[in-house]
Symmetry: C2
Subunit: 670 residues, 2 copies
């Protein structure tokens, strides 16, 4: 059977069909969600507020985004880059923005429906939340696949298709960096005045920033996460094309240019089916416990991975005629799962690391912070080794081409992993709506159980996003290096490389410092506004006057968009300038940014996640429970962790990929 290629079934047409099926599934699911009951007016009004706020952010974002896209398109056209790159760039930006727009629309329509659904039965809540996630997942996968297929079909050019990836990167920059600043400026601003100064509970409708906070969950965790993974997904396929397009020989078997290009496409297309099949099994029984809910989602994640592995085995065997690239694929898939599980271990209160943070809270906030930071740094061990093993294995079996294939492997079941990720913020919002709308103790308790499951999937999702960003960035970096022949002999003994490595590492630290201080600035503007509203309208705290939610949303939006200019500008401009100066230094810069960025991103994400759950662990009644000194210390840790895990950490994913993508795009000029 080996060596029989199957172009009759497996071709670009098949990929296009898979993309279309993904989008159609998303649309059908969206209509199903919209048909679900949205409850009493009081409750559905809250959802409307969140929806309006989310749309307001998107609409504000689109203005500078459009300007940015036009400027970049013009730059592409006036340089010596092929002109169609500019159209591919615009298409990439459009597809990613559309996926985010639809995903966020549905997420903000689903939250209230999940809460109302949980009123009948907790399984219903899970189903709606998961369906909403699947809309996002399938939209991202469908639009990315379709877009890439169109560009390849029309141009057959590896140079041009990079433009599509850069378009996706641009959206990711706005959604993840701008969105990350938005969400934490709102969250911290709401907490610092509401919880700390006025002692009103979280998600209290009297807090003027409460809607901005809930919008933020969608902006950051739905749109931001979606755009981040859209970029990784497209980037992994693009780097495989860039490296493989010339064709090559593997273990004596010749891989033609067409095979090398179609193979990652076909893997991704099969991933759509693996995700959809596995989604059918995400069905909780009635009256489920947290463990059962968890199992339902796990069936989806692990089920899709197993199905995908089987698909990939047959595809590789039949289409390429040798199994070596399959091993590269599997190494990425396995690394993704290992990273997700490691992040779960380090951030879940069932395990020792998070408990040690909770215990350290008993001696005050300082020991809480030190322990959390130490846990975060220590948590880099398994993910980094997983990435190293994936690189080593994939290169061993399939050469440089193996590295992007490993990234494709990690991302092949993205439809499913993104669905379980997006499930988190939807049910977080559902719990908030249940609280704000006074839906009764039982519903709230159910919604919170659904939210707790979401927190775990979110932790895993963050790890997965970081791991896939790193692997994709390494694949893009490899493609960059392969694209400039004289870099082949670029030894790390050359001081230029060391300088590049240092500058690359430096960028990740400076970028994190900028995003972190942006949150501080945004939060401080929010604090002033909330204090002002409480002062000027005393009726708010008495529950007599509605606060001005809109004003707070505007402040967050402005903070997000204004404060991303400098870090975003750095991410785009520095690689171009350095590359024009010396492509060798740029090579070192990319490598340095990936290494340091990966480590810093994991540290920030896991420290933040662990602080969050250490606080929840104490709130569950451990070590003195709510109101104890340990709890106060843990709240400090949780607040510190907010910009760590939701702004600066995820923003690094974008930085490392974006810089690699920019470099790859401009290779022809260097």
């Amino acid at each position: 059977m080996l060596g029989i290629s199957l172009p009759s079934i497996f071709g670009l047409g098949f990929v296009g069909i898979a993309g279309a099926i993904a989008m159609i599934s998303a649309i059908l699911l969206a209509f199903w969600i919209l048909k679900q009951p949205k409850g009493e007016k009081e409750v559905s009004d809250l959802s409307e507020h969140i929806y309006d706020g989310a749309m307001a952010f998107l609409n504000s974002e689109y203005k500078p985004l459009t300007v940015f896209v036009i400027i970049i398109a013009i730059i592409i056209i006036i340089t010596d880059l092929p002109n169609p790159s500019a159209y591919a760039f615009i298409l990439g930006a459009f597809c990613s923005a559309l996926a985010g727009n639809i995903g966020m629309r549905i997420a903000t329509k689903s939250n209230v429906r999940a809460a109302v659904g949980a009123e009948i039965d907790i399984g219903n809540g899970l189903k709606i939340g998961f369906a909403s996630g699947l809309v996002m997942g399938m939209m991202v996968v469908g639009l990315a696949l379709t877009g890439l297929t169109i560009v390849w079909y029309l141009t057959k050019s590896a140079e041009i298709i990079v433009g599509f990836g850069f378009g996706a990167s641009s959206i990711a920059l706005f959604a993840r960096v701008g969105g990350g600043i938005y969400t934490k400026a709102a969250d911290m601003g709401a907490d610092l005045v509401g919880k700390v100064e006025e002692k009103i509970p979280e998600d209290d409708p009297r807090n003027p920033a409460v809607i901005a906070d809930n919008v933020g969950d969608n902006v950051g965790d739905v749109a931001g996460m979606g755009a981040d993974l859209f970029e990784s997904y497209a980037g992994s396929i693009i780097s495989a094309i860039a490296i493989g397009v010339g064709g090559f020989t593997l273990s004596g078997v010749e891989i033609t240019s067409e095979q090398a290009v179609f193979y990652p496409f076909l893997l991704a297309a099969l991933g759509v089916f693996a995700s959809l099949i596995a989604a059918i099994f995400v069905r909780p029984g009635k009256g489920s416990e947290i463990g059962d809910l968890h199992n339902a989602l796990n069936k989806g994640v692990f089920g899709s991975a197993v199905i995908m592995a089987i698909f990939a085995y047959f595809l590789t065997n039949r289409y390429l005629g040798l199994l070596d690239p399959f091993y590269a694929f599997i190494s990425g898939l396995a690394a993704g799962i290992a990273i997700g599980l490691a992040c779960e271990y380090f951030t879940e209160s069932r395990f020792r690391p998070t408990q040690s943070i909770a215990e350290a809270s008993q001696t005050g906030p300082a020991t809480n912070i030190i322990t959390g930071f130490s846990v975060g740094m220590g948590s880099t061990l398994i993910p980094v080794i997983a990435v190293c093993v994936a690189i080593g294995f994939s290169f061993h079996f399939a050469g440089l081409y193996g590295i992007p294939i490993a990234a494709v492997g990690m991302l092949s079941t993205l439809g499913m992993t993104l669905a379980t990720d997006t499930y988190g913020p939807v049910n977080d919002n559902a719990a908030g709506i249940a609280e704000m709308g006074g839906m009764g103790e039982e519903v709230r308790e159910r919604a919170e159980r659904l939210d707790a499951v979401g927190n775990t999937t979110a932790a895993i999702g963050k790890g997965f996003a970081i791991g896939s960003a790193a692997l994709t960035a390494i694949a893009l970096f490899s493609a960059y290096m392969a694209g400039i022949p004289e870099l082949e002999q670029l030894s790390i003994t050359e001081p230029t490389v060391m300088i590049g490595l240092l500058i690359g590492g430096l960028l990740t630290f400076v970028f994190s410092a900028l995003t972190m201080s942006a949150v501080g600035k945004g939060a401080s503007a929010m604090v002033k506004e909330v204090r002002k509203q409480f002062q000027e309208m005393p009726g708010i705290l008495k529950g007599e006057t509605d606060p001005d939610y809109q004003k707070c949303i505007e402040i967050s939006t402005k903070a997000g968009l204004k404060n991303m200019i400098i870090p975003g500008g750095l991410a785009v401009a520095v690689p171009i300038l350095v590359g024009l100066w010396n492509p060798k230094i740029l090579g070192g810069l990319l490598a340095g940014s990936i290494v340091t960025g990966l480590l810093l991103a994991i540290t920030l994400a896991n420290a933040g996640g662990a602080w969050d759950n250490a606080k929840k662990y104490i709130e569950e009644g451990n070590l003195g429970g709510k109101g104890s000194e340990a709890h106060a210390a843990a709240v400090t840790g949780d607040t510190v962790g907010d910009p760590f895990k939701d702004t600066s950490g995820p923003a690094l994913n974008i930085l490392i990929k974006l810089m690699a993508m920019v470099s790859l795009l401009f290779v022809p000029l260097l």
Copy 2:
């Protein structure tokens, strides 16, 4: 005049004489210090306690250290490495340990004398503190130069002289990592029970951990800093020898093997004289303000740099016959000053960054932490660029040989820079003794002014230690790479390099996590002991019974030595194992560890320094002053910063140099 070599004056003999003069100056200064009055019995007893505690730590350290040195020596002998490497190794360890021992002895004898001296006149206090620092500085420089001269004179082997450096690294590991854990376990333990629980002031003699805390300042900031810089100093010369030993041609001028080897030696020897000459100018007038005290020390630092630049110009011109290596030298000297000033800017409360942390304290500990962390990360910008410029310049002018010469340049005036560094902990102790011994308001106020100046020099010193560690590590790394010819073609496109980079970066994060959690464990043991003493002996808090200081010193000692085994073992074993497996991965590992280690070390050091000074800024009466909520938040930041700046940050200096040194030592086996 160009091209005339001057072997009649400038030879190894000259270097040996310079080393001897350095040691003799140190001994004369030490006798002068010991002749100064040590005050009333109550006061001098406190100093005795600190002295005894410091010696107890050293003596406990010597046991495992001796075992470690013997094991490594045996390993060197049974492998194929030249046997004399083992003797060089033992000599290096002995010289560094001796320098630390003498420096710490004198520092712990000087503290009380500085306090008593300040009683007469504040300038006296400065003179004694500075003299004590100069003993340390001259001992380090003298023993390093003499030891290296002996090894070179006897063996003329670049391979063997690396053994000396590795000996120095081993001491640095024990002194800096073990000492760093010691000092912060004591400090945090003392504060958590004393200041937080019992509300007794800092440096209160009723606190059982107070002597351990004061011992810690000497263990960490005197012995640890000294061993760290001894390692850098020796390492910079050794790497210049390793790279230059074959001779080479520069701008058409042939540099013989002897010239290439003697040049760094001669630069270092001239540095002794530059430091001693400049030391004469460190003389404050009577009744000086902080600014004047500061100026006195600055005259020493900048004066020695200027004198050294002139010396280096003439030496290079005359001895080598071309100026190119002089530019390499100057780039290192200038980078050291730039890094020191940058660290001062980011950690001094006169400047914006530290003030922004103080302001953020007004909204609680969380915003204090976030702002401090962001300041720390942002503070990497100038130091990293300074290192990059130094690498670029030195390589441009003098090729690979230029890089260690830049490191030699940065470290050439070490006698002076270490003197101003060590001045800090001596006067910190002096202020503590003035407080504990009840020496009266005026003396205490003077001692604190001296201490404040010391804090600035300490901040600069830390930056300088990090910068020189990075540059030395890069020089050692270059020597390693140059020592394995097949690494010449090691392109960073090879995934092995990327894997190496990732593992190297990973090690710095895991190492920091380990040292940070070691402090936590040590502090928690200390907390238990202090609580126990307060409970079992109620007379302590009433001031009727003396606490058991000894027991606390033992706990810190045990915590320091026990908890350094795993991180220390990693630092030695990982490069050997990785190198035996694949020297290419080891090359990447070293580069990755240097890049990430430098960034992380600067972040940790400057965040810690800035938190410390933000607290002091509030205590000076700003933003509500002592007792305000902002102050409480700032105290949290200060405590978090303790292990950042005094344990994990400085420990990274050792990690990156030690790994490079181990690798260079084992090159012949790879």
